[in-house]
């Protein structure tokens, strides 16, 4: 790909996006109220609440720490339970969607396989908050609604990614097993699944981390996870409490990310034997001295315990309503999904004009805005990451960048740590909660949403991009440094251009998630699809709500397919395996 053209197009898209979104530069300066609020909120960050800010609550003897712990436990529990369901969906869908499972399928089976893949993409196109709204509207606010809302899109994502990982892992080992008389299932298990296992496990843990963030966000639609308390504390003006919740959430998310990266390293590198034994050592001695990771075992055990506890600790999965009431609600909901002119006149031909009116009045504009919101944010995130990599990449931040000794460099090393640390914090914040907080500062402007998406995704892109730079095999950066060039010269002159396609690939991968998140951010009150959805929900216009949900799903679905197509072409240009389209957190930094 021509870099210059790509960059020019990206800049054009960014500014065109800002234009279409009416993002004025003067909106970047918060109002006086906003500034005061921002100041108060920022100063509260240094003094998170250790007890209730409300005097009445303090006197009641309730424990604030206990409240945080309960909310956090619920957040983790819903995420873990949902992931255990999603894993089942992901494994079944992932295997059925994998080319390597079917071998040489007949035409009908190939159609079926593609259908499974599209189905996985379609299920995941609908954001978990949308699923939550649908389920809550249908059966009321219940733990089951929360868990299903997370499990469906996450299951779809897992299925899609598992298929890709399994196809990528297709090796001659499974061919050997088939050629030596093994049945297809055994050959698939031994040759493909085992080969892909480190990637499958790593990706599942990454999804669990995402699940915790999403579970927290479900609080904004009334599920009592940590997001719910952040929202209510905000409404009460208890900023210090918000920070306590945020710190607790960040700690958990960062802990899970840390576990994930250690598991990835342990599984991809393996452990050597504890000590080198002589050639005549007995099999038992060898067994006792074999390399094994206690960390892996402990993690596996804990995750399993967590999943079982998550299921068992729920006293009532339903909404507490009687069976009849639930059924009644559900029937009313399904009735109201039918477009209202059809309901009123019993004539399906009235649906066309109704739909046309909806789309022309609001729908298409909201769709357009949502698209540009996601695109502008992804581009901003990419730009921030490309700049941040220069300071954040480990191999450049060292005293001897890429093994070339240079004078000084201590400050650079510290800066590198600060940049990487900020990126961790940035990507640990759920976009939705970030957007919620930024909106209070900037007022109802689209900038808040763009920044929220850009901060979270910038943190992810910085990490992925820095890994590309750190793992770059070419020696041209060393040559530049040895000739007296600076780190920036090595980055701009060698590392960035060489890894550029890879960076674009990651950008497209994040772009598709930005579009997906953008469909929901409007729920916070800024014109886009999410706004229409929450409006329809408030007015109980379920028929309209369904239209907007489908419209959002379609946008994300198309975005997914576009992104897949672009990334496939980029990979082919790079000479990389075709199928590996999602590559977050794969290779460790050497």
């Amino acid at each position: 790909m021509k870099r210059r053209w790509f960059l020019l197009t990206a800049v054009a898209f960014f500014f065109a996006g800002l234009w279409f979104l009416d993002a004025n530069l003067k909106d970047l300066v918060p109002s006086e109220g906003g500034r005061r609020m921002a100041g108060e909120f920022a100063s509260a960050a240094l003094r998170p609440a250790l007890t209730f800010e409300d005097a009445g609550m303090r006197e009641s003897g309730a424990s604030f720490a206990g409240k945080i712990a309960t909310a956090l436990w619920l957040t983790i529990r819903y995420a873990v339970v949902a992931m255990s369901l999603a894993l089942v969906i992901g494994l079944v869908g992932g295997v059925l969607g994998a080319r390597s499972w079917w071998g040489r399928p007949s035409r009908a089976l190939e159609v079926f396989r593609r259908f499974i893949r599209l189905l996985a993409t379609a299920v995941r196109s609908v954001h978990e908050l949308m699923w939550a709204l649908l389920f809550i509207s249908a059966v009321g606010t219940s733990p089951l609604a929360a868990v299903l809302a997370l499990a469906l899109p996450f299951g779809g994502t897992l299925a899609k990614v598992f298929s890709e990982l399994l196809d990528e892992a297709h090796s001659s080992a499974s061919e050997v097993m088939r050629a030596t008389g093994g049945n297809g299932f055994a050959a698939f298990l031994g040759g493909v699944v085992m080969r892909a296992l480190p990637d499958l496990v790593t990706y599942t843990l990454y999804r669990l981390e995402c699940g915790i963030r999403s579970s927290a966000v479900l609080g904004f639609v009334g599920i009592p996870t940590i997001g719910f308390h952040i929202k209510t504390s905000f409404e009460d003006g208890h900023y210090r409490e918000i920070w306590s919740y945020l710190y607790a959430l960040l700690a958990v998310v960062i802990f899970f990310e840390w576990v994930g990266s250690r598991v990835r390293d342990a599984m991809s590198q393996g452990k050597a034997s504890k000590k080198t034994l002589s050639a005549d050592a007995s099999a038992i001695e060898l067994f006792q001295q074999r390399g094994k990771s206690h960390f892996l075992r402990a993690t596996g055990f804990l995750v399993a315990v967590l999943a079982v506890a998550g299921w068992l600790f729920e006293p009532d999965w339903s909404s507490g309503l009687s069976q009849e009431r639930r059924l009644e609600n559900f029937q009313r909901f399904t009735q109201e999904l039918i477009p209202y002119p059809v309901r009123a006149e019993g004539d399906w031909s009235t649906m066309g004009p109704w739909l046309k009116e909806l789309l022309l009045w609001d729908g298409l504009q909201a769709l357009w805005r949502t698209f540009h919101l996601g695109t502008s944010a992804a581009l901003l995130a990419g730009a921030v990451a490309l700049c941040g990599i220069l300071w954040g990449a480990r191999s450049l931040a060292r005293k001897a960048p890429r093994g070339v000794p240079m004078a000084g460099g201590f400050g650079r090393m510290v800066l590198g740590k600060v940049v990487r640390g900020s990126a961790i914090v940035a990507r640990s914040f759920p976009e939705f909660i970030l957007a919620f907080l930024l909106l209070q500062v900037f007022g109802p402007t689209v900038w808040a949403l763009i920044f929220a998406l850009a901060i979270h995704n910038g943190g992810i892109l910085l990490r992925l991009g820095a890994e590309v730079v750190d793992n770059a095999s070419s020696r041209s950066a060393e040559v530049i440094l040895l000739q007296g060039g600076s780190r920036s010269a090595a980055y701009l002159g060698a590392l960035l251009p060489e890894g550029f396609n890879r960076q674009v690939l990651f950008l497209f991968y994040r772009w598709e998630t930005c579009i997906r998140e953008a469909t929901m951010l409007g729920m916070l009150g800024v014109g886009s699809l999410g706004y229409l959805i929450s409006e329809a929900k408030v007015r109980l216009y379920f028929d309209e709500m369904l239209v907007w949900v489908i419209l959002g799903g379609l946008l994300v679905f198309l975005g997914d397919l576009t992104s897949d197509w672009v990334r496939k072409r980029l990979r082919e240009g790079e000479g990389l395996p075709r199928n590996r389209s999602v590559a977050p957190y794969r290779r460790s930094v050497k």
């Binding site: 090796s171 001659s172 080992a173 061919e175 050997v176 097993m177 088939r178 050629a179 030596t180 008389g181 093994g182 049945n183 299932f185 055994a186 050959a187 298990l189 031994g190 040759g191 085992m194 080969r195 296992l197 480190p198 599984m267 991809s268 393996g270 452990k271 050597a272 034997s273 080198t276 034994l277 002589s278 050639a279 005549d280 050592a281 099999a283 060898l286 067994f287 001295q289 074999r290 390399g291």
Partner: protein
Amino acid sequence: MFELQKVSLDYGGTLALKEMDLSLGAGEQVCLIGPSGAGKTSLLGLLNGRVFPTSGRVSVNGEDLTSLSSKSLRQVRSRIAWVPQDLGLVPNLRVNQNIACGRVAAKGTFGLLRSFLAMGKGERDEIHQLLVRMGIGEKLYERTDHLSGGQQQRVAVARALFQKPRAILADEPVSAIDPERAKDLIELLTTVAREEGLTLVASLHDVSLAQRYFDRVIGLRSGEVVFDGKASDEGLEKLYRLGA
């Protein structure tokens, strides 16, 4: 052991093999040589039924592969080991687990899973014995990708032997490695085949290796046998003209 009668193989218009007649006896050590596209890989594929002929008959120990049910075909295959060019090992499995895969036909899916999760003592000792014989006994529980290239070759040969086969097929086993290791692997393969009385069919690019280690060398070009016999001077002359 292997019998080809008037076998042709047609890959959608390209004729990979032309009416080939060939008989490979039990215990014979045969080397296939010839330029790329000569049909070596196709011929090896026919021998364990990975590829079926367009016309003609391929039989293994008198059983016609094309007429077998898939279950019987699997049974025939379970007696023929295969060592592909990249060895076909799973890099992130331990050595003992990779070798256990050699007996996948007898184990079935659950047996394989059991070997992966909790290998029985008998199986473990048997695998250990094989590794000792290969000179890498201490690598029993090592992760396969922690081994050197030469050690991985030995693991692949051990997996083939663990299968208790009647024949070993090796497809260009040395084309991607340095000459010293290539020599080691061919020496290992021919030695174990002789000791166990196995039929060995290997395809090679290297004429001198073929000449040195194999009694019978078959030269292929454009899907036809150009030359078949002991590696005599007369034969070698024909051999060298092969690529011309």
